[in-house]
Every structure is written in C-alpha cells, then in structure tokens.
Symmetry: C2
Subunit: 232 residues, 2 copies
DNA sequence: CGGACTTTTGAAGTAATTCAAGGGGAGTGG
DNA sequence: CCACTCCCCTTGAATTACTTCAAAAGTCCG
C-alpha cells in the first residue's frame, strides 16, 4: 500500500475523519506499519501504554482477564477502528489485551505523538471524544443486557451486534466474517460454552442460524431479533 | 456562591482542570445554575441532548431503563463530575436518565457552547478524552465482574467502589454518604433486592457491615475486600 | 396514628452451571 | 495420502446459586 492510499485510508477512520489533507500527510509520515499473524498478541494487559494503533486490514479481539484466568471479550475491532484507546486517553497501563483474530495490518503511533496531534488539532481530539462516547454507550447497553436479560436473549443480542458490525451477505444468510468459537460467544455473553452450544443447536433446528466450526451464519435475522426482544 | 468561587470550583473539575483563569471566567459567564430537589429528574432517557451539567453539590444517579421497566444503575455522580456526557460526545439523545439523590446544585451549558469551547481549547477536549476513557474503563471492569463473579463478590465490589467514591469516615466505619436502598444495590450489582438483603444480613452478623434503612456503613473493609477477591 | 415505603425471611421453583464423556474436523507429519 | 493429534463441539445428568413468590415486620413522615 503506497503513501497516497494510506492518507486516504486515514481520512476515513473514526479518529482522523475530517482532517485536512496536509495534516493527514503529516500523520501518515509519523506512523509505522506493523503486521500480525492470526493469534499473535498486539498488546498485553498490564503493560505500560506506549502505542495507539488503527486497524487497516483484519480484526482484533479485545479481552480482559481476571487473576484466576477467566476471560471476557470486551469487543472486536475492525478496519478503521482505534486499538489501544488507553494510550490515547492517558491511561498508565493497558486495561486489556489485544489479539489478532485474522492476519492483520495495523498502523501505529507512539502515545506521545498522538496526544501531541490531538492537542494541536482539536478536531482530532473531538473525534476521540465522540469515539470514546460511543464505546462507553455500547458498554452501558451491554451492562444492562447482562443485568436484566436471560442467556438466550443476551446471546441473540451478541450475535446480532456481531452481524451488524462484521456481517457479510451470503446466499445462506448473513455470515460473521471472522472465526468465532462457542467459547468466544460465551465470553461475550457472560455464559459458558456449553450453554452457547445448546442454544445454537436449538436455533439451528429452527432454521434461525447455520453454524460450523468457528463459523456462524444468521439465516433468519428477523426470528433472531424477535428472540432478542421478547420479554423473559 | 459568588462568581469568584464558582471560577475556582470550575478549575477543580475533571472537565476544566488546568484551564487558564480567563477561560474559566468565560466558561463561568456562559453557565447557568440550576437546583434540583431529591428525587427530581435532571434529564430523561430518550430526550434530545441539549445540556451538559457539572455537579457542584449533591449526588445524581445515572440509570438506564429497558422497555419493560427494568432499571440498571450505571453510576452515581458527585461534585466536580460531568453529567450528560452524551451532549458532550455528540450523541443524538440521552442514553439514560439522571435523578437527584440529594438536593443538588448543578451548573450547566448548552451542548453547542461546550462543544465550541472544546473545539477552541484542545486542553478541555483532552480532559474530556481522559474522562470518557476513565468511564469506559470503569464499565469494562464492571462488565467483567458481572460476567465472571457470583453475586456475593459482585456486591462486595459494588459497595467497596461506592465507599471509595463517596465514603465518609465515622466512628463505626466508612459510611456511604448518600441514601442507598437494597433495590439500588441490586440494580448496581445485577441481582435482586432479596439477595442483597440476605447477603447484607449475613455480613451484618459477621460484623462486616452495619446497615439501616437506605444506609450502609462498612465496618471492616478488609474482610469485605477479602470477599471481593476470593475465588468462586 | 395512618399509610407508604423499605426490609426481612421462608419456601418453592428454575435457569444455567458444572461434571462427564464422546464425537468430529482441520491441519500436520510421517 | 493416510493416520494421528489437537482442538472444538455436542449432549446427557446432576447440582446449585439465585430468583420468584409470598407474607409479615419495621421505619419514616406527614
């Protein structure tokens, strides 16, 4: 990918949207590129914040792990999204880890550079405010779901959200465009892989979804939506 | 409260910290003051975003309500904190409601004015980035707790967090400085008021807490911390 | 002192976890 | 190319933590 198309790419990201071309060029010159193979760790929970990345190609999984090894998936990050927000928001250490789910291309900057850019260009800082506001809102919604809904409904919401953000239309329905195990779904919905497996089996029988090994296709999204909305 | 002390107060808030005095004066001139009695609604879920407030005196409860009337408490807001972040982050509507728990004094600005100030002064925008980053992180931690911990541990974490942010040393221990019902604790911990009541009764017997009607005193915080950290 | 709200506690019910075992794909190495 | 191995997934049975249902007792306020 050449510098020119990099600049265009940056202009479409949530963080740098709306920036004038000269500024995008400056930002592009200050960036470094990095690639990660599927399964590699991009950054590790507890490490001192050093780098902010933007995803160019591929997908990352943001997790938080407890002392006793239990994991929660905070979110998945796709092209154009900021990875390592803690370095942007002045956190001391990364609150979670970031793992490449696919083979990934990222562009990165040191925390100091990004913070300098935001300080000199308030429109970029405002983009960061909007982006963090949106993520905070997203977490509020998930917290509410986790507090008030039963597992089946939560799982439906989780899958619908994934289909929305990473869905690919196919002949058989909307396919979630990256590998996703039962365990992953459990860690996103606050349940166990056993319950996820049982629920998906039941849905498959009703023709709502079509699943394989680390693969989910939503065949009848309307039915799934009605499960997500029904009262307990 | 006169204008001079208002300016000093603003300089100590999370949003305006570090701003030069002339700017603080300008901000103070653009503000309006508003008081709410205990129980009054400051802003309502679903309304178009219009105002950003800062709490001067008192405490607000931020909630989210589902279609079928179930509530979740997102957080409590105390002096110096921003209320109505959605107006700051460019959201269309308020994602939750804000209720006065105490009698409250707030200062407010229209969303347009605040956004203009942030655009003209990137240091304020950076404060907003930090503040939203911190809230997002807080929600990540709570999401993880809700997903991986059993009720007793979650309740312990909830009470410890409240004691930290609104605790007042007394002869009998750390008292949470605003009225807080069993129902409120349930809505913060993702459980029912019955389970909260039972758990608190058990703790009271062990001398860990000392509770009354809408009142919690943490008598032995070390024991509570050990409950919060023990493996399930 | 009445009435509304908050809290407590028991008993029954249940959704989901935990425990346990086996089956099947995908990739690897011989 | 086949066999081996490592994951990942499935399904049943037992267990349990928590909710739900129900009723009564406190406590505050006008």
């Amino acid at each position: 990918m050449d510098d020119q198309s990099d600049v265009e790419m940056l202009g479409r990201t949530e963080l740098f949207r709306g920036a004038p071309v000269e500024l995008l060029r400056e930002i592009q010159r200050a960036a470094f590129r990095k690639r990660f193979a599927a399964g590699e760790t991009v950054l590790r929970q507890g490490d001192a914040t050093a780098t902010v990345y933007i995803v160019v190609i591929g997908r990352l999984r943001a997790t938080q792990t407890t002392l006793d090894g239990q994991q929660v998936i905070i979110r998945y990050l796709g092209p154009g999204e900021v990875a390592g927000y803690a370095a942007l928001a002045g956190g001391e250490t990364y609150p979670g880890s970031l793992i490449a789910v696919d083979d990934c291309h990222l562009v990165g900057w040191s925390a100091a550079i990004i913070q300098d850019i935001m300080t000199r260009h308030s429109s970029i800082a405002m983009n960061a405010v909007r982006l963090l506001g949106a993520r905070y809102l997203d977490m509020q919604v998930r917290l509410r779901e986790l507090s008030t809904e039963k597992v089946e409904r939560r799982l439906a919401h989780t899958i619908l959200r994934l289909a929305q953000q990473a869905g690919r239309r196919t002949a058989r329905g909307i396919e979630i465009a990256f590998p996703l195990s039962r365990q992953d779904l459990a860690e996103m919905s606050g349940t166990t892989l056993h319950t996820v497996s049982r629920t998906l089996s039941a849905w498959e029988e009703r023709g709502i979804v079509d699943c394989g090994r680390r693969r989910i296709i939503v065949a009848r999204s309307q039915l799934l939506e009605s499960i997500a909305e029904e009262q307990d």
